[in-house]
Symmetry: C2
Subunit: 357 residues, 2 copies
Amino acid sequence: MSQEKLLPLRHKIDDIDAQILVLLNQRAQVAQEVGHVKAETNAPVFRPEREAQVLRSVADRNPGPLQSVDVQTIFREIMSACRALEKRVTVAYLGPAGTFSEHAVYQQFGHAVEGLPCASIDEVFRAAEAGTADFGVVPIENSSEGVINRTLDLLLQTTLRISGEVAIPVHHSLMTKDGTTDRVTRICAHSQALAQCSAWLNQHYPNIERQAVASNAEAARMAGEDPTVASIAGEQAAQTYGLQIVSAHIQDDPHNRTRFAVVGRLQTTPSGKDQTSLVLSVPNKAGAVYSLLSPLASHGVSMSRFESRPARMGAWEYYFYVDVEGHEMDEKVARALEELKQNAAFFKLLGSYPLSL
Amino acid sequence: MSQEKLLPLRHKIDDIDAQILVLLNQRAQVAQEVGHVKAETNAPVFRPEREAQVLRSVADRNPGPLQSVDVQTIFREIMSACRALEKRVTVAYLGPAGTFSEHAVYQQFGHAVEGLPCASIDEVFRAAEAGTADFGVVPIENSSEGVINRTLDLLLQTTLRISGEVAIPVHHSLMTKDGTTDRVTRICAHSQALAQCSAWLNQHYPNIERQAVASNAEAARMAGEDPTVASIAGEQAAQTYGLQIVSAHIQDDPHNRTRFAVVGRLQTTPSGKDQTSLVLSVPNKAGAVYSLLSPLASHGVSMSRFESRPARMGAWEYYFYVDVEGHEMDEKVARALEELKQNAAFFKLLGSYPLSL
């Protein structure tokens, strides 16, 4: 009878759980002392760089058999619970509750937080600026619509800083009105989504025309009205536009992600693996962009993202959103930024923050 | 300088974290031994009753300062991570990803699971019945539309059993087209939502007529077309129907919840605090329901829910969905069920499972 073998093992687990429970509360007591010290100097409760270090450290030292990613999930909740004893951090996000944005909140802060769903990205910024929320979480780029323009606009104006980045996996599906591709003559989606599924499309539907449209939602709407159209979109769209999924998870990269920025009034210190986001502009003349960016190369700072977008108003025709590796307090980054600032017609540092896990 | 005071405290925390990390992996090793024993007898990896006991036990023994609910969140993830070493449980749910249903999956199983989003409740059942998924998570009742008829229908037919229940908090908001109530002459919502907000409505809008409509979504649609209508609905509706939120979180009970059932091929054993769900029918004659239920009273079994719904077909005019306290293996419950079965024209045991936390 297996029960006889199971019982002593379960007692062992109960013993270990009791020890973990004691240690968790010891940790919480020390965290409370940290809180008292911080209160004396008005230091912030949430330090993303410190939490990132703890999460990296437990993954590095994890002897197994537990998977490091699972250990990090556990420790994220441990830190969240300890932090909540000092203060339950309030985080504004693009509502409603039960969306990817809320997931992103938990992925950054753990579950022991107060979520504040907002009706718009503007409201998220306002809540964090006004102090109604300690932080805001806003989508910055997704794989079906590209960058979120409103977020980029608001980052340009806000007094808030980016203090973290969260990435959530995203899946594309092929869908049609009747769940088959028998009558389909073209496959529609946002160009980015078409690109992300191209290997799969080449393999399965090499002879069907592909058409880039304004957004995946638009493609899904078209497919809902026209049985000769197949659309690529997130599963949500199937429900919204009355479509049937033909094939799920067709994107070539299974790690396709939506990125969120965590914004707040906090200035982080280096965590050891950081990223810095900034916005620049130059007068529109040939070679200007190249020479603008030369300080990065000359100081050995790697650029991890570069995004240009037309300015809606003002004297510069383009804004450049740039992510570089390292923290603004790292010596070589600081020097490169200083030079960039001198050369740029417009320069705004959006923030330095730990690289997402 | 506070850094001098903080550093030794942080070292203390790092020490404690190192000990926790060792214990977590010791626990995982014992859990692997449990897995080997279970494999010999083909016993299931996920035992909801055992996990419920562990979560109750850590809450009972929690010395503080950590809050028990936060300790439970941590241990849920610990068990999830350990379980994943035996097998990453696959859980089908009503998609798309990023919805309350997915939240419910994590709340029951922790994050170390494989989620399988399905396009319909039917598909969730099929996936769990066919073994594509180990479990399914389906909405059973929500506070804006009442019971989910499709789930109840499928529970009637399925070979699966309910092995758990998850409750997710739900909030109602008052919303109109322009975000004010200046022109509003009536407030519309599902009757259940109107009832759940009645104290708040009495206080804030005692003189505006209330009108029950088919669903909160219908009310929101009406409000989107008619500026004299205010609707009560979840925040999601504001986005869908282009409404502005006038007041958020207006339900009288802040613990308003949506319930989900976890269905699977598993038969649970008693956890100490359980609930049993069943469906009954009687020939439609006066007093039949009363006498049908008398075995519960005579054996001292409390009924926690009673829901009647018209049968779509078949010889019985009503099905009664009944939840009782206790496990089908508890002696008095077993006796009461035996008698119920003898008296009922139709009897189906849906399952016994741990009461949700």
